[in-house]
Homo-oligomer: 416 residues x 2
């Protein structure tokens, strides 16, 4: 199996100003093609560090994929460094220059400056791969039987290059094995208890199938991984064990694929031809955002009301002022009135209502930060639940959303 | 200046199943304390790879911070590996065991299993740092004058340990320089043009101040970085250059700090004591989510209506059916009626309305995917703008939100 290292370049990665999402996406796509990423390394815009990283990783891998540092500004040093590293001299790539001119004239509708033209310069020791989505060309080098590919760090440019050129090219050069992952999602059981529960299953796994636990606040994903040269055999083998695993955890199983809760709920709605709406206080539209992030969600999602203030709760959802005064906005009574008001206004089959205290302000001894009331239901029946989270604002919002969606999921299954 | 390497451990990082947000956060906090991260390396749950990474990074750095692989399940091999790497034997840490028992008895309210108890075992060659937020203890090793710290990968556990123990401890051991970053945000000018514009400024920067460009779809952030031993001198020097930089880019300046657009808008509202609401079709509540992700946003945010269907646009916002039929949901006429309806219903000072086609479905030759109409305004005045984005659903939603918020920002400034 070939080994791949990913090197990401940029000071912003080392001072924490940006989160590296590129590497995860690259690893995912490479994996699908049977290519295993062995190491990911991030270094700054520093000549010696980049040079050393190239040396190091080429000792450890056959393919070194590099992103970042190809911009037109002075802090971007990757291109001159690669030129020197591979003993080249800079020349203008006509193909890259045509692309730069095309992008400026037809897309940006701005004149091409000298700085833009310089983007088309490349070391003469590389093969240029056209980057249709941007002005920085992708460069493919080979040295001592190792392959080095330098791509821009702009995600959608890198993605286009990987999908259209680099992965197809690597698949031609190497004989790749078949890697197979199967993931399921559980809810309501901790990692340790789950491990105890499936101890026997895990011990009996053949050595070429690996089990991983991916816990994430109430949810634990279980992943089986196998690789082999025979696609059908690898798939059949993992499928058998995956079926068994589903049976083992059936009381906690949310879905038998690596899907987020909002997709699971969306599919349930799609299958049963039902619609949903949300009334959100503390989540401020986040549940609605999650539901509508799924392509095709307009088939089952009608709309939402984000009612942050007392006034909005009263005017938009018909929550009674006395209920707010007597019980407070974060109360079972209020989420009940919210969901009832919502079901009347939106006329959807199902609805979710949430109200809570996300922090950092707003907590009281009786209702500390993290206190959340959730209501889910239909015109026939409503279920409410009280949650206590104990994290920061961002995490509390996410947890409220995922737990509300899970409650909705359980409700739909039990009442369909 | 001491050098730090971060090693993150977990197969999920190398198959792209999770995005590594820990490293960015760690780098940010270390930087504030004057500690520079030199390299970040991710390796899988693989004995040899982890071992080699420890060897490699200890050659390159004085401090090696390790996260992940400390869970209670069989795929977590970091602890036994560290035990062998540092020639120790496993013992029970009484302090860690007390913590495990406390967490299970008082927080999870579940009995402590044998597997849970095993979490309290540590190599006798380490100093244990108590992890109050979880069951996996943090381990501090020293070898050949290098420091190795192993932490769990669960973000809020790692954060607690870094903030309360590791950074304070490193600050005691090392004499740390003062690192200073100043970042500003520009909108409406590309990276190349910006670089041309401030070429003179950049060339005249002293060698200890570094300028970086951080482009991100319409927005370019500019960051100045300086480090020195004298806090006041370092701050004064960077402040002078930062003032000059602000002046250079003043026509495109959004804010003189590293703040997201929703925070900039929120502050403007707070300063002027005004309120806002949103009517969202294609963004599905994402703008509302961004606005309410800011602590204290209840001071200026009242609520939102997410109107995905025709029916919701008509019933909640009073958009006329004939307008929808004649012009389509994605039209200037519809966003005008949406914002007018919203301003009446919500009675806020300002409002935002958006309607567009995010993809992957729904595009037509006249209105391709990425077509978005935005309206911002008040009861006195409304401004509309047509955008054409050309990305995937997720990116189109983000771009719509950021551009709508920027249009709102400009409107507030021009009309206050």
């Amino acid at each position: 199996m070939i080994k791949v290292s990913i090197i990401t370049i940029g000071d912003e990665l080392l001072i924490g100003q940006v989160i590296d999402t590129n590497s995860a996406w690259m690893a995912q796509e490479l994996n699908k093609a049977g290519i295993k990423v062995n190491r990911r390394v991030a270094v700054g815009d520093d000549w010696n560090e980049i040079w050393k990283a190239l040396d190091d990783e080429s000792e450890k891998a056959e393919v070194i994929l590099i992103t970042g540092g190809l911009g037109p500004t002075a802090d971007d040093i990757t291109k001159p460094l690669l030129c020197e590293y591979f003993n080249g001299k800079m020349i203008v790539s006509q193909e890259a220059l045509d692309n730069v001119i095309h992008i400026f004239e037809n897309i940006h509708k701005r004149p091409v400056t000298e700085r833009n033209r310089k983007q088309a310069e490349v070391p003469d020791t590389c093969k240029v791969i056209l980057n249709k989505r941007g002005t920085a060309p992708c460069m493919w080098f080979e040295k001592d039987k190792k392959i080095f590919v330098s791509m821009p760090g702009v995600p959608h440019e890198m993605k286009g290059l990987m999908e259209e050129s680099i992965i197809p090219e690597l698949s031609k050069i190497f004989t790749l094995p078949f890697i197979c992952h199967r993931t399921l999602v559980t809810y309501g059981i901790g990692e340790s208890n789950l491990a105890d529960k499936i101890q026997g299953f895990e011990a009996a796994l053949p050595s070429n199938i690996k089990l991983a636990y991916l816990p994430n606040y109430g949810i634990v994903r279980l992943r089986l991984t196998s690789s082999g040269n025979d696609k059908v055999k690898t798939e059949t083998e993992i499928e058998n064990h995956f079926q068994q695993l589903q049976e083992e955890v059936k009381d906690f199983l949310v879905t038998n694929e690596d899907a987020p809760m909002e997709l699971v709920v969306g599919r349930l709605l799609m299958e049963t031809n039902k619609t949903i709406s949300t009334a959100e206080s503390c989540t401020g539209g986040y549940i609605s955002h999650l539901l509508t992030a799924i392509p095709g969600s307009s088939a089952y999602f009608d709309g939402s009301m984000v009612t942050y203030s007392y006034q909005a709760k009263e005017n938009l959802l018909g929550v009674r002022n006395e209920t707010l005064i007597n019980y407070g906005a974060v109360s079972e009574e209020v989420v009940r009135e919210m969901i009832n008001g919502l079901l009347i206004k939106m006329n959807t089959d199902y609805a979710i209502a949430v109200s809570g205290i996300m922090g950092p302000g707003g907590g009281t001894p009786e209702k500390p930060i993290g206190t959340v009331w959730v209501a889910v239901g239909s015109k026939e029946k409503i279920v409410t639940k009280l949650f206590h989270f104990r994290f920061d604002r961002q995490k509390n919002i996410q947890l409220t959303a995922i737990n509300a969606l899970n409650l909705m999921r359980e409700f739909i299954i039990q009442n369909k």
